[in-house]
Amino acid sequence: MNEVLQVVVNALSLGSLHALLALGLVMVFGILKLVNFAYGELIMVAGYTWFVLQPSWVPLILIMLVAIVAVVITSVATERIAFRPLRSGSMNAMLITSFAVSTILQSSALIFVSPRPSVINVPRGLTSYISVGPAQISVLNLVIFAVSIVTLLGLMLVMQKTRLGITLRAAADDFRMLQLLGIRADQVIATAFVISGLLAGIAGVLWVSRIGMVWPTIGMTPLLIAIIAIVVGGMNSLKGAIVGGFFMGALHIIMQTFLPQNLLAFLDAFIFGVVILVLVFRPEGIVKGRFQTERIG
């Protein structure tokens, strides 16, 4: 019984974090049809900003905010410098460019910081546990869940109710038509990268506090999670990304809990295996989009 509660809390916590990651990725994908491989490095930027600022007098909450801002700036800068000149090119060219951007950011961390993991001091309060009956619930997991859910709800509100959100959703539907209504492409895309960066920043800070370390390739796992989550979720909708994120989180925790010890090392392979199985039976993902994901000039 106590195990059930623990598993549920952990699954919800990880699931909501994965949902944030997936949303940030799908935000750009929906509009540019670009899977931004440099997305994982945004997590890295959050981690290193925290690492660099932690010896200073700056209070932790401010450090976290600065880290999020740094991620937003990186996200927008990569769009401006690397992606914008290529927008009229092929999708493959953009994918490979994002791969190149990812390499640049990773190698920069390698050169200017260290190839080895740098330790992040996560406050004691977060790493403790509270007992609910016999169950041990991690405070950090509760915080992650709370922050993620608030962010998710906030984003949903923005997307549903504001002019900005309506414009972004319209851009995912038919970007060409949106421009014919007088809305500038550059602005919409930049906005998408801001929101993507914001989500990656928040997710990044949470991710780093879970791990307590940062290293140049830390972004690999969150990137993969986000990619798989949006594929499983159905590529084209925000709802799909959320469903996919929670699915991946739950799958991870369930496998981690019930997989025999000697197979635990293959955890990732199992997870991706399940994902490919899902795709065999539902190539369009769990949440079926009404429209094909073809790129429009």
Binding site: K33, V35, A82, P85, L86, G89, S90, M91, N92, A93, L95, I96, T97, F99, A100, V101, T103, I104, Q106, S107, S108, L110, I111, F112, P115, L224, I227, I228, V231, M235, A265, F266, D268, A269, F272, G273, V275, I276, L277, L279, V280, P283, Q292, T293, E294, R295, G297
Partner: protein
């Protein structure tokens, strides 16, 4: 009339001759004047030609980006090594290997063929799912596939020695072996491109719906090509393994994927002459930068470590290259395929019209 009928043939054979000629010149030049170092670099370059042409065969003709091919290469490398490592070496480098595999001791050719077949088989199984997806979903699922392969290879201690180095492989590949396979790769790639399968695949790339409408089974066509191209990538892995002789799973992962994609994209994924040229250029630039990086590190002229500088420069060059010439150096017409070019231009233009509207 005779002239007219001869033209298309020239258009098809001249690029093959140019490509093979360039490879011969490099091989002969290096064997006459090259040092051990250049010999080594060129051997690896020829292996990359095999790999990149294998990738081109699928990616160039189908237009679907694949990140998985270095994974297939890894399967080929490990598969062939398992077949060829002599029993006495095996008991040392892979002490926990399953009993039936312990005694296997094949020669070079059968070993790399088994490795390639394993890669092809893996592609055949996963391809059933992958080839049904839309372009983008297929591309990013292939990325997941690369990760799966790496996770399995680096965790399967009994068979691969886990994340640690696998050693004890005999050195069978030398520069001329690698050259021979590269030459075969060039010919196969050209034959495939002009085959009916290659034609169907290119039709699906240029206009998916039209290809579908004229009765091409796109999923099936893509699947066959995917498996074939994975087989070639696996072959490249076998060649590579028997040249390097000791390696770990991470040697065939993101860094290599980046390098290989770069070769294909810089040269031009739609053309074989382009892909080959890409391998040559990227090899030269990469090795040049690497030696600068090493010299800088030795001299201590810079206040920071220089490992990773090569990657940064390569990536920047790639981005600029893609912005200025998104189709690669040789993008639609094969080098030397310009004979009777007008016709080709027009067909490619009409296909463009089909996709753009």
């Amino acid at each position: 009339m005779t002239q007219l009928s001869r033209l298309p043939l020239a258009r098809k054979t001249l690029p093959v001759i140019i490509t093979l000629g360039a490879l011969v010149v490099i091989a002969v030049g290096v064997s006459l004047f090259g040092s051990t170092v250049t010999n080594r670099i060129v051997t690896v370059m020829f292996v990359h030609v095999v790999l990149v042409l294998g990738l081109q065969l699928f990616m160039g003709n189908s237009g679907i980006l694949s990140f998985a091919h270095v994974g297939f290469m890894a399967i080929g490398a490990y598969g062939s090594a398992l077949m060829s490592i002599p029993a006495e070496n095996k008991s040392r480098s892979l002490p926990n290997l399953y009993e039936p595999l312990m005694g296997v001791e094949l020669g070079f050719l059968p070993a790399i063929l088994v490795g390639a077949a394993t890669a092809g088989l893996f592609a055949a199984i996963t391809g059933v799912a992958l080839m049904r997806l839309s372009d983008t979903a297929a591309a990013i699922s292939s990325f997941a596939l690369l990760v799966i392969i790496n996770v399995v290879l680096s965790q399967w201690n009994e068979v691969t020695n886990g994340p640690r180095t696998l050693s004890g492989i005999l050195k069978y590949t030398d520069m001329w072996t690698a050259f021979g396979w590269a030459a075969i790769g060039v010919i196969v790639a050209f034959l495939f491109k002009e085959s009916s399968l290659g034609m169907k695949l290119r039709a699906s790339r240029d206009n998916l719906h039209a290809a579908d409408a004229i009765g091409i089974n796109v999923t099936r066509t893509r699947w066959i090509s995917f498996v074939f191209s994975a087989f070639i990538a696996g072959l490249a892995g076998g060649l590579w393994a028997h040249f390097i002789t000791s390696f770990q799973p991470d040697a065939l992962y993101f860094e290599m994927t980046f390098l290989v994609l770069m070769m294909l994209v810089v040269g031009g994924p739609h053309t074989i002459t382009g892909a080959t040229l890409g391998v040559i250029i990227v090899t030269v630039v990469n090795e040049g930068l690497r030696s600068i990086e090493n010299n800088l590190a030795l001299s201590g002229a810079l206040p920071f470590k220089t490992v990773g500088m090569t990657e940064i420069v390569l990536a920047v060059v790639l981005i600029i290259m893609l912005a200025l010439r998104p189709g690669g150096i040789i993008h639609t017409v094969e080098l030397g395929g310009g004979v009777g070019r007008r016709r080709e231009l027009q067909t490619s233009a009409s296909s463009q019209k089909g996709t753009r509207r």
